[in-house]
């Protein structure tokens, strides 16, 4: 379980999001959504310990994380980042094996138990067919799953993923998110991820954190729909000409689906209508 108490994140003296108070229970998948530059990555980086919080505390199972050493942190939180990993000639098994680093000795030699954990992670993610390949020959979707298996091999109660679906094709996006949801439920891990695939996040998450106007509104898809927060977030389009009520996205609150307001010529629209 992760608890953020009066957390302020940002760089130097500049706060990006202030006074965040949120909790994620174990076994939950939470999707962080919001426009570019609102601070989604900054929150993730702060929780991961890559940058210090400007203010407030992060509790992991009621322990203050600011007292954690790098070694302790590596056994508490694993990450999958947006930055592209380019390693020449590294086998998939070796890369997943890196997840065992917090537990291995001075030279990083893997024990038999480590190897079992690696193959368990491979099975959980469903990539046993990739085990013998080298990482640089994989597609983006396959790479994402290998990095996820690395995070699983790290055996941490929390996994953070920064836009894990960003460079994937549609099928890979869906399968990655479904996999993460299943992992959260089956392994009782806390998973927090940021994404721009809002429609999938709505359908495939235990809770949503909507970052907008410098604050986070959290809740389940249902509760956020009922309160109108989700509709407000989705239907505000900075590009749209508000005067004409020309919204790009229309949120169907009954079916929890999105409809794109098309800009096709009226005659085509008529044809489609017929």
């Amino acid at each position: 379980m992760i608890e953020l108490q009066h957390l302020t994140v940002g760089y130097g003296k500049k706060a990006i999001l202030s006074d965040i108070n949120q909790t994620i229970e174990s076994g939950q998948l939470v999707c962080l959504i919001g426009a570019n530059g609102v601070g989604k990555s900054t929150i993730l980086r702060t929780i991961a310990g890559f940058q210090p919080p400007l203010c407030g505390t992060i509790l992991l199972n009621e322990q203050d994380m600011s007292s954690f050493s790098t070694a302790q942190r590596s056994k508490a939180i694993s990450v999958v980042l947006t930055e592209r990993v380019e390693v020449p000639c590294m086998s998939v098994v070796d890369l997943i094996g890196m997840g065992r680093s917090p537990y291995t000795g001075f030279f990083g030699t893997l024990t038999k138990e480590d190897k079992n954990i690696i193959y368990e992670a491979i099975d959980m993610v469903g990539i046993s067919h990739l085990a013998t390949r080298t990482f640089d020959t994989l597609s983006d979707g396959e790479r994402q799953k290998v990095l996820l298996a690395k995070a699983l091999a790290q055996q941490t109660p929390v996994i953070l993923l920064d836009e894990p679906t960003a460079f994937l094709d549609f099928h890979a996006k869906v399968s990655t998110l479904r996999l993460l949801l299943r992992l959260a439920h089956e392994t009782n891990k806390t998973i927090l991820l940021s994404t721009h695939d809002v429609e999938m996040a709505i359908q495939l998450s235990d809770a949503l954190w909507i970052v907008q106007n410098g604050e986070i509104k959290a809740g389940t898809t249902l509760s956020l729909t009922e309160s109108g927060t989700l509709k407000h977030f989705l239907q505000i389009d900075p590009m749209a000409d508000a005067q004409k009520g020309n919204q790009g996205i229309i949120f169907d609150t009954e079916n929890l689906t999105l409809k794109i307001n098309n800009v096709v010529l009226p005659e085509t629209q008529n044809k489609l209508g017929n």
Binding site: S74, L81, C89, F107
Partner: protein
């Protein structure tokens, strides 16, 4: 063939080349006489041969072996740390720093003698100067690497450093004596014979210290392959690892440059040859492989340098680019495909 077999094969190659380096030189000495001398006897009628073998070829072989090992390791460490296939001691300006140190000694502080007849004192001065130059650049890079987290910026800084030291050296050349310039040019050609028996203990201690420290970095280096953030998340102390790494590369570059002159391309090419042969990026295998391939390559270069067979020697810096350039081209062409 698994990795262990390949490493054994490379070790065997190193041993064979080392033996060739003793039996084969710019002067023809029959193998049975070489064997005699190695066993502690003197070749009948040729007292000078003992000196050639024991004080010439033997230390020269050891120097080539250690230099190749050191430069290859240096290149691997830098390529991993900067996640850049073109990183090497020369690209980051570390050997430019050593060059500058040597240039100051040879061009500014005298250098009226040629390198061949330099006294021990003169040689030690060059070593100290190269060390000072390389470590000064390393200190600069260390400070900057804290400020500039991006690897590209650090590489650009290295290139800029090379330009600046290059122009200072030009300036020193301009105002130096003719002999000074000559000494500097000779040193710049690279030479495995300048260590000799007297300076061997110092050279050996310094390079072996660097190589041992490199072995201690195996685990952090593996994690660094994924990038700084992933490495940090895997429990690696990035700041400390980087500092040891820069210290090791500084020490190894300074030592080899000071004793043997600037030897280009080995540091850059050897790690790539190791990856091509071993098909891995795990440092537990790559570090020994790089050390062995570096040793093989340097020993082969040393053999080639005695090719004229008339007592003269081809400078090492003439040979290494011929081996290194194809490797660099290979990397560039491969990257174009990706």
């Amino acid at each position: 063939m698994n990795a262990q077999h390949k490493l054994n094969l490379l070790a065997l190659g190193t041993a064979l080349l080392a033996i060739c380096n003793i039996f084969w030189g710019s002067l023809d000495i029959p193998a049975k006489d070489v064997w005699c001398i190695l066993r502690g006897y003197e070749a009948a009628g040729h007292p000078a041969w003992s000196t050639i073998i024991l004080q010439g070829r033997l230390p020269q072989m050891l120097t080539a072996l250690l230099t190749g090992t050191a430069l290859g390791t240096c290149g691997l460490l830098l390529q991993t740390a900067f996640r850049n296939p073109l990183a090497g001691p020369s690209i980051l300006g570390i050997d430019a720093g050593a060059n500058l140190g040597v240039a100051i000694v040879l061009l500014l502080l005298g250098g009226t003698t040629t390198i061949g007849s330099l006294t021990l004192g003169g040689h030690l001065l060059i070593v100290v100067a190269a060390m000072a130059g390389a470590l000064a650049i390393m200190a600069l890079l260390m400070t900057l690497s804290k400020l500039l987290r991006s690897h590209v910026m650090l590489l650009i800084t290295g290139v800029v450093i090379s330009y600046v030291t290059g122009s200072i050296i030009q300036l020193l050349n301009y105002s130096a004596t003719e002999q000074g310039v000559h000494s500097f040019i000779i040193w710049g050609m690279g030479n495995f014979s300048s260590v000799g028996t007297e300076r061997m203990p110092v050279f050996c201690t310094l390079s072996c210290t660097g190589l041992l420290l490199a072995i201690l970095l195996i685990k952090p280096l593996d994690a660094l392959l994924l990038g700084d953030r992933y490495a940090e998340n895997l429990g690696i102390n990035i700041g400390k690892a980087r500092q040891i790494l820069l210290l090791v590369t500084g020490l190894l570059t300074a030592t080899t440059t000071a004793f043997c002159g600037p030897i280009s391309f080995i540091g850059l090419a050897v790690p790539h040859l190791a990856r091509l042969m071993l098909r891995t990026s795990r440092h537990k295998i790559l570090i020994p492989a790089t050390m062995l391939i570096g040793a093989n390559l340097a020993l082969a270069c040393n053999l080639l340098s005695t090719m004229p067979h008339d007592g003269s020697i081809i400078p090492i810096s003439v040979i290494t680019p011929l081996i290194g350039a194809p490797v660099v081209l290979h990397i560039i062409l491969k990257q174009r495909h990706d």
